[in-house]
Amino acid sequence: MTNARSSAGNAPSTPANAVSKLLSFGALPIVLIICIIIFQIGNPRFLSAPNVLNMTQQAVYLLLIAFGQMLVLLAGGFDLSVGAVVALTSIVSAKVMVAVSLAYPDAPYLTITAGFLATMLVGLACGWVNGFGVAIMKVNAFIVTLATSSIFAGVTLVTSQGIQVSGLPRDFVYGIGSGYFMGLPVSLYFAVPAVAAVFLLVRHMRFGRYIYAIGSNVRSAVVAGVNINRYLMACYMLCATMTAFAGWLLTARVSSGEPMLGGEFPLQSIAAAVIGGCSLRGGEGSPFGVLLGVIFITVVKNGMDLLRIGSNYQMIVFGVVLVGAVVLDRYRLERAAKR
């Protein structure tokens, strides 16, 4: 809807227009602003530069994974294996980097490049397996990704024997993992191009149209001549690659290959996407919404920590806020529909 509207070029950019544009994303921006105000009152440090940077750094990984998850959700799928992919990437890329840096101790960039390539390979391979199960074997995405998540976790443990891989190059750990460039975390510079690419893919390229169509009504896509299997494969492979990329950046942050990394991501990434307007039935959702969803989850978690809410109560509050955000969103959308 929005794209056609923007392309029409009939709406001059007035403030009222900006507000209505914001409103077209549902109540989420408003809920978010209210949350921010509450947190800021509760702890003035909330909007301080260090804490904002801190939240940015925390959001990067979830953002990458949620954008990958979004692709799969748009196409009517589901990826529960993102957590296992993060762990597998972490172990494999770390092992590769350690091996390369032992062979060529003075070539940190070679090492990092090798690690990056290994990451991409792991992502593509995992995504291929998921896509194969869903697109070619035509098994339900829930079962496939539950199964592959068990398989990937098994492979991770067999490869690592459950032991961390340390000895990563300094440039990787201190440069990418915890470095800053012009006041912003380096990992952000890595993530932004990937996120922007997905944005363009979804909103401005044929690919996006096709996956929306597949998720919305497979039949319509078939009739339109879309190669369903190819695009489903691509979605799962892109999702796993984005996830692997996040796993690699996370490995830099944690400075070692970790076999237990990423357990929180499957549910969090789906939650972020759904809060941001993605439907689990496919064909609905927008990158901007998912971005908001990621920010929302990050802000609420960080804010509750800063308000010193005990974690038991945090769980309760988080649940209530989660449903509340979605309810308000629905309520506003309904009102909009009535107008």
């Binding site: 809807m1 794209n3 056609a4 509207r5 923007s6 392309s7 029409a8 070029g9 363009l200 401005h204 390229m205 044929r206 149209r209 929306y212 169509a213 998720g215 919305s216 009504n217 039949r219 319509s220 896509a221 078939v222 009739v223 339109a224 001549g225 879309v226 190669n227 439907s279 064909g283 609905e284």
Partner: protein, 511 residues
């Protein structure tokens, strides 16, 4: 696949020879041959479940050809994909739409043939294309509206516009007018005639004889998945076609329904609902059929929906058998004896992945004698299902078959069966005959006749003008949400209904 790009008049564009398609051991098509020639409108005729849509699916590459040969522009293509078919110039309007509900109209319009500039979508260009294509057909749909907010008729029009915007070659229309009203149908007919003159090959499926006669050059008739005959329309009479199609002679089409109205069963006063229903008042008495007519989007469907409680009532009263219902809900209205039959069979009437039997009895389940202490009386319901299925001739007569495996017309019969599954006092039918064949139509009219004789009050909403005019005892015509006329039995003519539907006054009423 190598394809030629432009067609020559009279040349065979696409053909099937001795084609068969099996679902399990059941032959949906057996040994059927058909030739689509350029510059010719080819009609396809057959009862519900005869295999027409299946034939279409073979031409568009959405189904595998089990036996036989398929050619496109002279080339043999045993493994046709939908993409190849499209590239070769086959444009299709399917019986059950192939639109993506969460995409906008323009996104659907361009789906599969998006225009790009440097890899990015050229949205302005695509939008302009669509607007131009709509002008050609004389329709206007908001390009930015999500398809699931469009009415069924608008969706149908969008499908047609989309098919017309494809690569030139062939146009396949599977019951395109099933929910279109007079005006839109006229636009479609002229578009079809224009394309024919431009040398397109056209395959047209319809159950309406007048369309077949008016547009067709050639007609192919199918029965039970088999080829029965192929004629030039000039050489064949309607009766002959019907006889070939159903395998027997057909009696007089619209039955005479006696008009013996008694008490008022359903009354609506000053009803307003949403943006499409404004200040509507009418009454339906027991023992009569009251028609509701108008153009697409005039709000006739919403009237019935509001009465049945499917959309909120903003103002006005709904009175059933003298009692005012302040806030109708489907359950409450069913309890008062009013049953509503929605026009959107796949969206609103059927549980597609459940069996025929389950779909037929779902409304009856709420009744006392269909269950003891919550346990379903399977034998009672089994008899009811068997009865309904024979009465409406649902084919195949397997109560356990999933509804999604039935042909479009047979799905519609299941919807009718659900409405007729128990005795009611008031019926609201919205497009009840969409997609059912002549024989089934006649059976349904006879059911109406019988219901009427038994004293049922019937609100009949249809965009098939002839049907509306012939069956209704009285007609209310709507235009842009308002009721523009009430026509009594003597006054009902097609011209009057059309005129009022356009919000004008017919000549004979001006004096």
């Amino acid at each position: 696949m190598p394809v030629q790009t432009h067609a020559v008049e009279g040349e065979v564009f696409a053909s099937l020879s001795n084609a068969s398609k099996f679902y399990g051991s059941f032959a949906a098509l057996k040994d059927v041959s058909i030739k689509l020639s350029c510059g010719e409108v080819h009609m396809l005729l057959g009862e519900n479940g005869a295999g027409k849509s299946t034939l279409v699916s073979l031409l568009t590459g959405t189904n595998r050809l089990d036996e036989g040969k398929r050619t496109l522009r002279g080339a043999d293509c045993p493994n046709l994909t939908p993409l190849e078919a499209r590239e070769a110039g086959i444009n299709t309007v399917l019986q059950d739409f192939g639109l993506a509900p969460t995409l906008t109209a323009v996104e659907n319009y361009t789906l599969g043939r998006e225009k790009t500039k440097g890899g990015f979508l050229d949205k302005a260009q695509m939008r302009a294309d669509m607007i131009r294509a709509m002008e050609k057909l004389g329709v206007s749909i908001d390009p930015d509206a999500r398809v699931d907010t469009l009415t069924r008729a608008e969706q149908q029009l969008l499908e047609i516009v989309r098919a017309l915007g494809g690569k030139p070659g062939a146009l396949i229309l599977d019951e395109p007018t099933a929910t279109l009203s007079h005006d839109e149908s006229e636009h479609l007919f002229s578009a079809v005639q224009l394309l024919r003159s431009e040398g397109w090959a056209i395959l047209y499926i319809s159950h309406r004889m007048e369309e077949i006669r008016r547009l067709g050059d050639v007609v192919t008739i199918l029965r039970d998945g088999r080829f029965v005959g192929c004629h030039r329309l000039a050489d064949v009479s309607n009766d002959q076609m019907i006889t070939e199609m159903v395998g027997r002679e057909m009696a007089n089409f619209y039955p005479e329904i006696p008009h013996n109205p008694t008490t008022v069963a359903l009354e609506v006063k000053g009803l307003s609902s949403g943006q499409k229903v404004r200040d509507i008042s009418f009454a339906v008495r027991a023992g009569e059929i009251v028609g509701l007519g108008g153009l697409v989007g005039c709000g006739k469907a919403e009237v019935a929906r509001a009465i049945f409680g499917l959309q909120p009532i903003d103002d006005g009263q709904v009175i059933v058998a003298g009692t005012r219902i302040s806030k109708p809900t489907p359950a409450a209205m069913l309890d008062c004896g009013l049953v509503y039959l929605p026009q959107d069979r796949r969206g609103e009437a059927l549980a597609l992945n459940r069996s025929v039997a389950e779909n037929i009895v779902v409304e009856v389940l709420g009744e006392k004698n269909s269950a003891t202490a919550g346990f379903v009386k399977t034998s009672v319901l089994g008899r009811l299902v068997a009865d309904v299925m024979t009465r409406l001739k649902v084919q195949p007569a397997e109560p356990r078959k999933l509804v999604q495996e039935l042909s479009g017309g047979n799905q519609q019969k299941v919807v009718l069966g659900r409405a007729l599954s128990r005795s009611r006092k008031i019926f609201a039918f919205d497009e009840p005959t969409a997609g059912i064949d002549v024989g089934a139509r006649l059976d349904f009219y006879k059911q109406l006749q019988q219901l009427c004789a038994e004293g049922a009050a019937i609100l009949f909403i249809s965009s098939d003008l002839q049907e509306l005019v012939h069956l209704s005892h009285r007609i209310y015509v709507m235009h842009e949400g308002f009721c523009t006329a009430e026509l009594d039995q003597g006054q009902i003519t097609e011209e009057r209904v059309i005129a009022y539907a356009f919000g004008e006054k017919p000549k004979e009423d001006i004096q």
